[in-house]
Amino acid sequence: MEVGTGVFSDRVAPMFAISQSAVEGALAAGAAYADARVVLSKQQSLACLNGNLEALDYDERAGVGVRALIGSSWGFFATPELTEQAALAAGAEAAAIATASAMAPGPALHLTDVPVVEAHYETSHEENPWGVALSEKADLLVGVTETMQGVTGVTLAQASMNFWDTEKFFVSSQGHKISQHLVEAGGDMAATAVGESETQRRSYPQSFGQFESGGYEVIRRFDLPGNAGRVAEEAVALLSADECPGGTTDVILESSQLALQIHESVGHATELDRILGWEAAFAGTSWLDLDQLGTLQFGSPLMNITADATLPGSLATFGFDDEGTPAQCVDLVKEGVWVGVLSGRDSAAIAGLAPGGMVRGDGYNRMPMVRMTNVGLLPGESSFEEIISETRDGIYMATNRSWSIDDKRLNFQFGCEVGWEVKNGRLGRMLRNPTYTGISPQFWASLDMLSSEQVYWGLPNCGKGQPMQIGHTGHPASAGRFRDVRVGVKG
């Protein structure tokens, strides 16, 4: 990361000027504080089904979004018109929108202080995804779907890849001037076998795809061709596998499933805007009460969870959040005790905490809000083999298939693509339709073995907010064992 003056090229000066105009427009119209982001983003998506490239999509969005604080409310306005004049008007409109909020006023909102910096950040990447020929990308997807289709019983063979390139130019009325260039890449493949009465699916690297900060090297590391046959064979085998039995048993979760468990039951629960009730009507609130911060036993002593926006290569890694707060590592759960939250400058001020640098917006036209960064479980000391060998009776579940959790992030039920019985320290028969359910603190308290083999899983599809925003989040995780979990839930 470069920090200091003189780090910006001539090319970016006009973008900063537009952001600055938006801020000035808001201040002139009465805002107590304002910030603005010019965002230039592009996304390329390729999707293949059964050897046919179904979609080749390119999406580019460019514009400026300005946020104005007046009294108890933010006003936000966005325009795709990238001129200083349009930005000035957008700033004034944002202030007018904030002023209208006085129809239903609340306590004045304040911001915690953060360092005022001029800086530039760029994602480290080896191979520019936009420089890789479309034909190479298409050939890879077509090839792996044809391999999967070659396995008898596979009905649908799908593969996809996505790339994002985002430039941001942030200016605040306090003097921030920050540019960032973020590069993200990822993809997946899946085989579906259709039976008489149900479908079975196996995917790789995980069910929503694996996404990371980086270039095309991310895709090359996956080795999609090397896994296509196995994925297809497992999908077909699931159709004739035994149904996951119902009952209570030990559950070993593969790391990508544990990543989603962390996302849903820890990440969202520790979002300070939810805890403060700001998301009550839609996403929901949280079972966590700020009065218990620092004392509440969230899980077992093996549970150490951080929100770390500085992890090289993880999907939610950046230099600064969309309020200009530097990326940082924050402890959320330490040795099983709840110690931290995901926060921004306004929510942290209300809670009397330091801001966590976790506020991001989905493009120029969405107001930044509290989002997970890389919320992950620090690795344990066991190997996966040791966890299996020390399990007398249990089920190993891998790769998410369904997920549901209540509005307080307490009562969850997950389904996985595949399970394997574990008996007397060995993996046994394959099980179809494995599900497990529980209550967050009870479930996390039952964690008693954790693998040392950590993966930085990345999710590109976290929905939150109104209007809906899609966030990119990271979740370092390794396989873990949970005792006495209810499994095999059926209607």
Partner: protein, 442 residues
């Protein structure tokens, strides 16, 4: 430049180098959000989105941009044509929609398209002040403006659309109740009655008791039914899912109780949205289920050509991957009021809202989710009290099959499903059983 000439201009930029279709969306959105009984986030945006799809000898590429200036659009056209040349042929490319007129229904209100933050904030305030001593949270939004479509086969369509929604909850301690209203015109939505709806449920939801999870007879609100309908639509009446073997639909077979009739009808006065789909095909009214018998699937051009039929006008943007989806669903109402249905239950539950529903298998339509914002025990035909939220795991088609559907309500309305407002008109339903598989304690 207005949206229709802009769409034509982009088609002209492509010229005879490729087949081209263009959608220009000129709608503007504003949303006023409140929590803890005050407005905390208030947003709006303006602009246009241009969506372009080109096909060069069956090699298809698509692009979307927020840049509507000539220079930006010309660059986008060149890049998209270039990308199309580099990719393999799309063996399922169906060609462009031929010229056809769209039906004349209009779901547009200019006042809604131009609604001010003050108009939205007024409704938020009136929702909030429907009760004292509660914490209110929710939103009021408006969305409206012109949408145009043009393609190089000569199809050219333009319409204007609008939608307004007020949606929120009142909370008394841990008890909550929800209120909703959606219409094409903001002027048809008042904050106070929607707030009162939420207050009434929230007050009744106080002091919930724990209930043992089991199969219970239920009366489900229109909001719950709307969520069920969307799962049936996205995974079932979707011709792509059907072609792939993932849909439950068996055309011509009796798959539901005879009282189930479901249509997708853009012409319904309650409907919102444009009169044509993402392919530029005019929307057709479609009977999906008639007296319990599965009658039709929703098609776009891609699925209709594969199936040897005609498109029903249900293409969605991004539909190459997801397939066609009906978005003006109507479950035909019955004759019973919600109160009459509750009165006929000896012991069961009334559920106000579902939350966080996800599908476990598309063929069997088994979903899991939770109840939210008011779950009530019915005993002897009366609401006996509130119960804590429950988790369920249930097949939707299993719940609606013959013998399981006890009654259909007369109270059909545009009900917010979990996936958004304005997509489904649904009544309350009385079902013989719904499988609750977990309580607050797991």
């Amino acid at each position: 430049m207005k949206v229709a000439p802009l769409a034509e201009m982009v088609v002209g930029m492509v010229g005879d180098r490729a087949e081209a279709q263009v959608t220009v969306d000129g709608t503007n959105q504003g949303l006023t959000r409140f929590a803890n009984s005050f407005i905390h986030q208030n947003v709006a945006e303006s602009g246009r989105t241009v969506q372009l799809k080109v096909a060069v000898d069956g090699k298809v590429a698509a692009a979307t941009t927020t840049r509507a200036d000539e220079e930006g659009l010309r660059a986008l056209v060149e890049e998209t044509i270039h990308a199309a040349h580099l990719r393999p042929t799309d063996t399922d490319w169906p060609g462009l929609a031929p010229p056809a007129m769209a039906m004349g229904a209009s779901h547009f209100d200019v006042g809604t398209a131009r609604a001010t933050p003050v108009e939205r904030a007024t409704r938020a305030r009136d929702f909030i002040t429907a009760a004292e001593g509660s914490l209110a949270a929710g939103y009021c939004d408006t969305d409206g403006g012109p949408v145009a479509f043009a393609n190089s086969a000569g199809q050219s369509l333009e319409t204007s659309i609008s939608r307004a929604t007020l949606d929120g909850i009142h909370q008394f301690g841990t008890a909550a109740g929800a209120g909703h209203a959606t219409a094409a015109a903001l002027s048809k939505i008042e904050g106070a009655p929607v707030g009162a709806m939420a207050v009434k449920t929230a007050r009744a939801a106080a002091d919930p008791a724990e209930l043992e999870p089991a199969a219970y007879e239920v009366v489900l609100s229109p909001e719950c039914v709307a969520t069920m309908m969307y799962f049936l639509a996205f995974y079932g009446w979707n011709a792509k899912q059907h072609d792939e073997g993932q849909s439950f639909v068996a055309l011509g077979e009796s798959q539901f109780d005879a009282r189930v009739t479901i249509v997708d009808d853009f012409l319904d006065p309650l409907a919102v949205g444009p009169s044509f789909d993402a392919d530029g095909t005019p929307k057709r009214s479609l009977t999906l289920v008639e007296a319990g018998i599965s009658k039709a699937l929703a098609h776009d051009r891609r699925t209709s050509v594969k199936a040897g039929t005609v498109s029903t006008g249900h293409a969605i943007h991004g539909g190459d991957l997801y397939g066609p989806v009906p978005t003006n669903l109507h479950f035909h109402p019955g004759s019973q009021s919600q109160e009459e249905m509750i009165a006929s239950v000896d012991r069961g539950l009334f559920v106000s809202s579902f939350n966080y529903c996800r599908i476990l298998d598309p063929r069997t339509q088994v979903i899991t989710g939770l109840t939210r914002n008011g779950t009530f025990l019915i005993e002897g035909g009366e609401i006996a009290g509130a119960v804590s939220n429950l988790r369920f795991t249930q097949s939707i088609i299993g719940a609606l099959e013959s013998g399981k559907l006890v009654g259909v309500g007369s109270d059909a309305r545009l009900a917010d499903s979990e996936v958004g407002p304005g997509l489904v008109s649904a009544p309350s339903l009385h079902l013989a059983e719904w499988h609750f598989t977990g309580g607050a304690q797991g």
